[in-house]
């Protein structure tokens, strides 16, 4: 086994290249210049093997600000150094062990982040929602309203997005207002209700923070009585009473922060963030929808309408396009229908609107 060999030395102060002899001592290696001067003496315990291409053993000193380097190209001598200094980690075994613990720890950290996202964020959002002042909620509502309107309004030039504004539609609007007034009087909300029917074909309705409700034209078309429409409205009023919109905004903000910022954008994972958010939010929404259903049943009973009408309406709109389920969507419809029918108090009810009003309401989007 050779105790000396040739190498190239860089002293870490200038870029001069020194062709040197390297001598392996009992506990240190000595770097000797061709003229015989000792350029460096490094103890084995402070040696570090550094990144280099294949066939080169590159050595440096651990924890030293002067980045001196010794390069050995002689394979036999490099093997001798490795034998003299077992800690050099020629096979990267120690590095692999370190990597493994990093991977395991990161996975544990990520698991706890996911748990935080699934349980912590909704809990936190629910706890914080009651402390959001009404004024902030209304501002939030108006900001979201602008956004939602621009998303939904795909109408052509010249047609109005909102129904009930043309002369032929005004009686319908008046009928809707009477229905909404009945609901609002019994609901006792802290924010004013603002209901609008809009020109969208899907049978759907959405509630925004701050009291805005959008009923889609398709839903009015599918409703066979004022009670069925009122049932859906009562459900949406439930969302407003429970401040679900505000909570959803808080949740979305929390999740974006968690996934978008902390994880960084790993190779353009923006879509992963959105996907994760959609999956998580739809799982949050199940309980929220059930709670709104219960509220809706109670409200319908209070105003003397048919509490089961919401269930009828739900079974009617269920089989339509699955892509649109994100909005009205919700837990399995059959479960909801059963729950509503179970919660509805027995007894008959009077119609909420007289036939003339209901006929007018059906024509709320009549004009173009």
């Amino acid at each position: 086994m050779p105790r000396t060999g040739s190498g190239v030395f860089f002293d870490g102060v200038t870029s001069a290249r020194h062709d040197v002899m390297v001598e392996l001592g009992p506990d240190a290696l000595r770097v000797v210049a061709s003229a015989g001067a000792v350029l460096a003496e490094w103890r084995y315990t402070e040696l570090a093997r550094l990144a280099a291409h294949e066939g080169v053993l590159r050595l440096g000193r651990v924890g030293n600000d002067v980045l001196a380097r010794l390069e050995i190209r002689d394979g036999e001598f490099a093997a001798a150094i490795n034998r003299a200094v077992p800690d050099l980690d020629r096979t990267d075994a120690a590095e692999r062990r370190r990597r493994k613990s990093i991977v395991v720890l990161s996975m544990a950290a990520m698991a706890s982040l996911v748990l935080l996202a699934v349980f912590g964020v909704p809990l936190l959002a629910s706890q914080l929602t009651p402390f959001v002042p009404q004024i902030v909620e209304r501002r939030l509502g108006e900001a979201v309203d602008t956004q939602v309107r621009s998303m939904l309004d795909k109408g052509r030039l010249g047609t109005r997005f909102e129904c009930g504004t043309a002369d032929a539609e005004k009686p319908g609007r008046a009928a809707l207002d009477r229905l909404v007034a009945k609901l609002a009087a019994s609901a006792g909300l802290q924010v004013p209700l603002a209901v609008a029917v809009v020109r969208r074909r899907e049978p759907n309705a959405i509630a925004l923070p701050g009291g805005h409700i959008y009923v889609f034209q398709g839903l009015v078309a599918k409703a066979d009585s004022a009670d069925e429409l009122a049932g859906v409205l009562a459900h949406e009023v439930g969302h407003i009473a429970h401040r679900d919109g505000t909570r959803a905004v808080l949740q979305a903000a929390g999740l974006s922060l968690l996934f978008g910022m902390l994880l960084g954008d790993f190779v353009g994972g923006g879509a992963v963030v959105v996907a994760a958010r959609t999956v998580l939010q739809s799982s949050y929404s199940r309980d929220v929808e059930a709670a709104a259903d219960t509220y809706g049943v109670g409200l319908m009973a209070k105003i003397g309408g048919n509490p089961r009408a919401l269930a009828t309406m739900l079974s009617k709109i269920e089989p339509t396009e699955p892509a649109l389920k994100i909005l009205l969507d919700h837990p399995e419809t059959k479960d909801r229908v059963d729950a509503i029918n179970a919660a509805a108090p027995p007894g008959s009810s009077a119609a909420l609107l007289d036939p003339a009003d209901w006929a007018a309401l059906k024509r709320i989007c009549a004009a173009r």
């Binding site: 380097r69 990520m110 900001a143 190779v267 992963v272 996907a275």
Partner: protein, 423 residues
């Protein structure tokens, strides 16, 4: 460099530098495939945390396999530094994002402008990050025991870059060469190898002349189309017709309809031409950039050829298609097995499984394509770039003294958080 026939007749014995190319790339593709494929799996498993280690490994591979006149570079940065830099960047960015979130709720002027303002500010942050990340990488680049460095102000650079990009956009890309030359001059003027100061000798005019044909091929047709339609179309009549709903467009202004289809064709032409010419563009830029680099008296010339760059991109395209095919086959087999096991995608659990599968497929697609890109395109560009270099005045490198101190990885972290990261 010596002529190849001389190389063949005289085996290298006396002076190794007389026959070897001055710069070589020694890394095999197989090693990088293994490194990046394994890394991609770990990145997915750790939801991204492993990326700092992967980036460090990749840089080590590139640096230490780059040999310039007999000595290879060394990357001395560590993954932990990148992680800490990222955490600091998060600490800085969270309040900024928070402020914008609150500002967006404001219904007045601030709320309306907050989106634009955030975009412009993050653009500025991004350029700052690019500059500071460059500094981090330079101070972690060791050659012959001496590391590189960069001074200058990140904010000044960011403002410059910001202003230039505005100019480039407004000039439809025509002023891009001068923007590049100006920014590169700033960067290289503040770049040091030890105490050896760099500068940049590339001129915007040169790059402009080399790229003008490409610009004309890509931008010419749509610009001509717009110019022509400005003259030919009866705009007031068209506006009135659109107000009415646009049902009788072809009757009222047939010229507009013809223009519209001509314009669509022109845009399509532009996009196809841009894709086809992209490798040539890359070659022009790379050759121009490398040939402008100066370190003291050391001059660099690049003899990069365009053909290999095209081969590289074709190879990339081939691998990506193959990968997608494999993914589709795997997906179909999976669906088949699920179906055979009596699994229904419409059931309660089925939807959850379907969305999980969708996320997995998406992540696999993104990470797979990114891995293929890094191995095939990035490595080849690096290799061709290195191997095309010819140096004059090499003895400028012989007596360089160490100067400066290592910088923090904050810039890298910011670049990562803002998704403007380089390597």
């Amino acid at each position: 460099m010596t002529a190849p026939d001389v190389f063949a007749s005289h085996p290298p014995i006396a002076d190794p530098f007389a026959v070897k190319p001055q710069a070589r790339f020694l890394g095999s593709e197989r090693v990088l495939w293994w490194l990046l494929a394994r890394g991609a799996v770990l990145v997915a498993l750790t939801l991204g945390i492993y990326r700092f280690w992967l980036a460090t490994d990749t840089r080590r591979y590139l640096w230490s396999n780059t040999e310039i006149v007999g000595s290879s570079l060394e990357y001395t940065g560590t993954a932990l530094e990148l992680l800490i830099g990222f955490l600091i960047a998060i600490a800085v960015l969270v309040p900024v994002y928070g402020a914008f979130f609150i500002a967006a709720l404001d219904l007045g002027l601030i709320g309306k402008l907050s989106g634009t303002l955030a975009f412009l500010l993050l653009l500025l942050f991004g350029q700052f990050a690019v500059y500071r990340a460059r500094r981090y990488r330079l101070t972690r680049t060791l050659y012959r025991g001496v590391y590189c460095n960069q001074d200058g102000s990140g904010w000044l650079y960011a403002l410059r870059a910001w202003g230039w990009w505005l100019v480039v956009v407004l000039s439809l890309g025509l002023l891009y060469p001068w923007a590049q030359a100006s920014l590169e001059r700033y960067k290289m003027r503040h770049t040091f190898y030890g105490d050896l100061q760099g500068h940049f000798d590339g001129r915007g005019g040169q790059l402009f002349l080399r790229g003008l044909t490409m610009w004309l091929v890509i931008m010419g047709p749509p610009i001509a189309g717009v110019a022509f339609s400005l003259i030919a179309v009866d705009w007031p009549a068209l506006a009135i017709e659109l107000q009415r709903g646009g049902d009788r467009l072809e009757k009222s202004s047939p010229a507009a309809l013809a223009q519209l289809s001509a314009f669509t064709i022109a845009i399509g032409w532009s996009m196809i031409a841009a894709v086809v010419l992209y490798p040539a563009f890359q070659a022009v830029i790379l050759r121009w950039w490398l040939s402008g680099i100066r370190l003291g008296a050391l001059e660099v010339t690049s003899k990069l050829r365009t053909g290999p760059i095209y081969t590289t991109y074709l190879r990339f395209l081939g691998y990506v298609l193959l990968f997608i095919l494999l993914l589709v086959v795997a997906l179909l087999v999976g669906i088949g097995l699920g179906w055979a096991a009596g699994f229904s995608p419409t059931s309660k659990g089925g939807q959850a499984v379907a969305s999980v599968v969708a996320v997995v497929v998406y992540v696999a697609l993104i990470l797979g394509c990114s891995t293929i890109y890094q191995v095939v395109v990035k490595r080849s560009l690096w290799r061709f770039g290195v191997e095309s270099l010819v140096f004059t005045g090499l003895n400028a490198l012989d007596a360089v003294k160490v100067k400066g101190r290592p910088s923090s990885a904050f810039g890298e972290g910011l670049a990562d958080a803002l998704n403007v990261g380089g390597l």
